[in-house]
Symmetry: D2
């Protein structure tokens, strides 16, 4: 049997910002026998799933489900709507924004990146004003799409997407609005239709509490219209055949059946708890986590309280600490996995995930591990972060 499944007792605490821990209820759903994806049971299952997933996106528009991980859905959003050499305006809010930009370049788009010097852009939300200004200086509408990240997993910042939409409207600019909420969906409020997003990109292994392997494009009528004439080459990602097959609950190519079982189950869990309750839970856990960080005498990377992420908190460590050495120590001593610093933040932060299948006691366990680890590393926390967090959670 699976060699990995060979460790002694003692639960692992997975507090990276995704993949988040998969609830046993979802793991059980995934272990249901694979069925014929062209048979009648599948069609009924698919139809229901394709309807109820819209609720997660607060979307009146269809959701495309790819049997692929999130990077694929980034690519899909672009290749379905754009032409070779088109200009897309992206915003450097963190590492994943930078990766999406690199991907756009690789597939033949002209990317323009709004960046701020040093870490400045990584410590706050998307600057809607800057986007507005840039769009106003594009009278010929050469910019075809504005691409922003909703929840930046690398920094712990959740940007204000409604503000970006307002900025585009204020500039009276016809570009498509594409939003990556891979790590936000199901944890932070998100409104595909309400915010006027054209393509929402998401994935399974974060707030949806699933293993990686599914990703999503939620597409507005405007995006769909653009896809009719877009000429970037595409086949696997092409929306047209998928949408057609989805009408009867089926898929154009072989779907990742067992992960779809898990998706159905996870949606039921989230809707059963209630989206508002889920978001409130995340907000409270995040608040408690930040209280702990402050108690330790450390700094939360995000400097703007209005865009603190409910999903993940990035913690800046002093120069004297190598954040990755600290993470390794914590992993080995306390069986707790934390997120690494990515890109510009390598070695400078560790990230605490508090998303998905997380509650008060899981978070307090993780914070306990962090503060014991900090002490073991030689850094004496100013005060107990756990106690500070408890004060929030009570």
């Amino acid at each position: 049997m699976l060699k990995l499944d060979n460790h002694p007792s003692g639960r692992h605490f997975l507090h990276i910002p995704g993949p988040s821990p998969v609830p046993s209820r979802v793991l059980r759903a995934i272990s249901y026998q694979t069925i014929d994806h062209r048979g009648p049971e599948f069609g009924a299952f698919g139809l229901e799933l394709l309807q109820k997933i819209r609720l997660l996106f607060k979307s009146d528009d269809p959701v495309i489900i790819y049997p692929a991980s999130g990077t694929g859905a980034w690519e899909a959003a672009l290749v379905n709507t754009l032409n070779p050499g088109d200009t897309v305006l992206m915003y450097e809010s963190g590492h994943f924004a930078a990766l999406w930009k690199r991907l756009a370049q690789r597939i033949g788009l002209n990317t323009e990146f709004i960046s701020k010097p040093g870490l400045e852009g990584w410590r706050g939300g998307v600057d809607a004003k800057a986007i507005e200004e840039r769009l106003k200086s594009d009278p010929d509408h050469l910019i075809k799409a504005v691409c922003v990240v909703h929840n930046e997993t690398s920094t712990g910042v959740t940007s204000d997407i409604a503000a970006v939409r307002a900025a585009m409207d204020a500039a009276n600019h016809p570009a498509l609005l594409m939003v990556d909420t891979i790590s936000g969906l199901g944890s932070a409020n998100y409104e595909h239709s309400g915010w006027g997003v054209d393509v929402t990109v998401s994935g399974s292994q974060k707030g949806l509490m699933l293993p990686p392997g599914l990703s999503f494009n939620t597409i507005s009528a405007k995006a769909l219209a653009a896809s009719k004439t877009a000429t970037l080459p595409k086949a696997f990602w092409a929306w047209d055949e998928i949408l057609e097959a989805n009408q009867t609950g089926y898929f154009a190519t072989t779907p990742a059946t067992n992960l779809l079982y898990g998706l159905s189950e996870a949606i039921d869990m989230i809707l059963g708890e209630g989206l508002d309750q889920v978001f409130a839970r995340h907000q409270k856990l995040a608040l408690a986590c930040r209280a702990a960080v402050k108690a330790w005498g450390l700094e939360v990377l995000c400097q703007d309280p209005s865009v603190y992420s409910p999903v993940v908190t990035s913690v800046l460590v002093p120069e004297s600490i190598d954040a990755d050495a600290l993470r390794k120590l914590i992993h080995e001593k306390y069986n707790l996995s934390l997120g690494t610093g990515l890109g510009k933040l390598k070695g400078k932060v560790f990230r605490i995930g508090h998303l998905g299948d997380c509650n008060e006691l899981s978070l307090l366990a993780a914070l306990s591990g962090c503060e014991m680890g900090l002490a073991a590393y030689g850094f004496t926390p100013k005060a107990s972060g756990v106690v500070a967090a408890q004060n929030i959670l009570m």
Copy 2:
């Protein structure tokens, strides 16, 4: 599907002193398809299992595995070795000792109970001296068995079984020594052969990290000899046919096959970690738990540090607190299950299990829940128990 498996996200923390949380590795083993318990695969499996389970008991003697819960194994120990009306000397160390005594009476034995007034006997270990004295006053050897509980789940006391053996030897008394280590096995050191125990009684749902449904009798040559002539009626519990069938790896009646899968897996986990490491882990967690209790300003029920249980800590609450109302509040607010006060302790204690699939962070999560619950109930802990526990665990 199972309606119970229908709750929203957020992990439950099960910190009762058994059933302890079942590791997913064991749950997966249990979900392996049931096979023919008379087929060749089963025989090979059974032979290996019946050998390796001896290591858990540190036993050179055979272990009988019943497809039944622990109460059954209590009964089995008695009906296999005793005659109607025989006198057994038992020791009131807590609620489970009292239950075993009641069971002995129901099946027609004459029980003699060494008790101390009030809660005194419940707050310390078995008094070997008292046993020795009683045996010395039994020159005709009317007492046929001495029955003691190794780890009293109701009180959090782990008695010194070697001392009981020494007391019997000092009295030069031939009674059988029967020990219940239902909640001690696999968490606290136990030495069936080394301590000269005649019948060890145990169960699956504590340190063995299994669901309830299996129980054990480990039997010395002396106990086996007694069973040849013992006349209490017995059939399901009778050792003779089981031992005979066990010689080829099979069972006399239908075994609880899937729980045996889990048992095999759990033994592998425990031996993989190493018995000494497992015991040391439990001792450390228990020490941390008691430090938390003291920090809160509460009292550990057990008054003798030499017999603190590594498995469970019973916490005395002040008169102003109804321990069961407190437990209910903690369960509802923090998704944490704690043990109730049993028998004489009803409403007076809550019990924190720290056994089996438990590690530093699980315990700290549980302690966090306790101290937030105490505060929510209106009791202000003197200091943070979590911080006190962390200081032990670092």
Copy 3:
């Protein structure tokens, strides 16, 4: 991980008359995390379970669920209702009837066994007339209980329990009627209340499609009344405390929680299909199986078509065949497990289980394996049993 779970591909066909194959839906239910059996979720779960299980027995009376295998429930039926030395009238309808009798003797009852010479009694149903006559010759009502087996797993005979009841009524005899339907329940029609049974004994691993480890006593008011004064020693099996605890959905001793999950799920499956549909399915499969046996030129052990078992078919082999060698060959060549000949039938029959999670194609697969195995053994079937069975199943 579990070493047994280490075989190459290719499904095993388990066609012994129990344990029957456990559906993956039930295995998944069993793998749900163990919960506190004294917590509020458990109480609600238990109450519902204890109600719905009555439907399986067609009982207005309560069902006791033991965390033990079937032999235990045999013992429980007797020790709860009888006194030492009481006479019970039993009927030798096969190997399990003989085992039950031996058990009754071991626990101190005086057993009287209605037997027929040689295999005669094993090839037909319980002779209600013989019971009636014996009871009529007991004017002092020394016989306290009549014990019969509903579905004899060793022979493939399902006796007429209503006829036994009628016989007892005709004799106007007050003995209790105890019936073992360990292998009949959930596969063959059974009516605890309708047939006036006093104690029904059953188990989990047959028609209920569960792993072994649960067993049942369903008890009439008359049996319950008898239990108030019965003096056979009992504790683990005692109904009184269990019934009291069951009133709020809990159990007197630790229940086999995870098997109860499976039980709940299996009941939902059976009631979802409908009891009548389940019974009709078994009848049809049994009919097809017997057609195959006849086509092969072999003899069905049961000689009375009115009591053919819908659960299992015992096949007599010619002298030239050692049935166990044949079973071994079939197991090795075709990955198919068949039941062995028990007691008087050792080496003379093999048994084909067609119960529980069985359907047309599973049965045809098993029959295919049997007939290929017969041929490989050197016996040329007269005609294709599979084709004969298909003709029934179409």
Copy 4:
């Protein structure tokens, strides 16, 4: 819980040519908790997995594992190695060959399709001679790749890839050889290195006995060299970053962790049985299946015995039968799923999968269902296919 997991008892027989039934051993592996794909356990796991998967392809070259289904791997093979407008020579051996061609066109390649009139090309293997001739008439080497399907799932034909290689060598043509063995790998012999294949495309849900969601590119040094300069846009599919990350056991983008658990387990199962044994088993089952078809008086679609597929048998039905209506009837009456006729074969064939977790008795069950279904549909089979198949399997 998952609503699909809500059906009554009776096992479903999934005999479509993929997804094939997933063994419970693999389903259990998949249900292991998701871990940090950037943590140390994952790296060790990945390194081992990336090595052992080569054995399945008989490859000295690296295997790329995509978190995507098979269509994606088709696209990946092309975009990594070719330039916009490049000509690829493809061969119409069936429906999937036609789909691959359409995909190639959609991503901007110039496709040339060797086809035969009507169904001719669909009833035999790839005509290596025809490829050789075409290549010889391409002195300027405008053809950049030859793309063929190894096992055509739609027809039940397994083409001779070594012959295609020989044809290319005979033409002394430098085109890349790309082979789709999505449904052949792990069931039919395949030799990536031995046959000189440049890019092998495969997927998880056929011979590998996994759910859909993983696909593969195995790449020769020549293909890798081509990828350095190929200009078709690519990002998600790009080999460069994946290969780099794979060197330490990690992946460039988030891997489908839980499906990788299953992949590791499935490889262990296959290698545990032995590749040669696995292939021989499939050959024998296929031979038996064809014997059944002939016995029924029906025609196997494939007309060339040298290229019969060991994976799937397509059965031509007479004009009087609508193959899809027949499949529906069989599904409803006998809980058996068969493959539909695709493309040109719609309504004209049904397909019997005998791959992966399949053995003698599973196949005989499926054949039983087919022949009872044929009869129920009104077609009287000439003779019993099951009996004919048994004669092969004995």
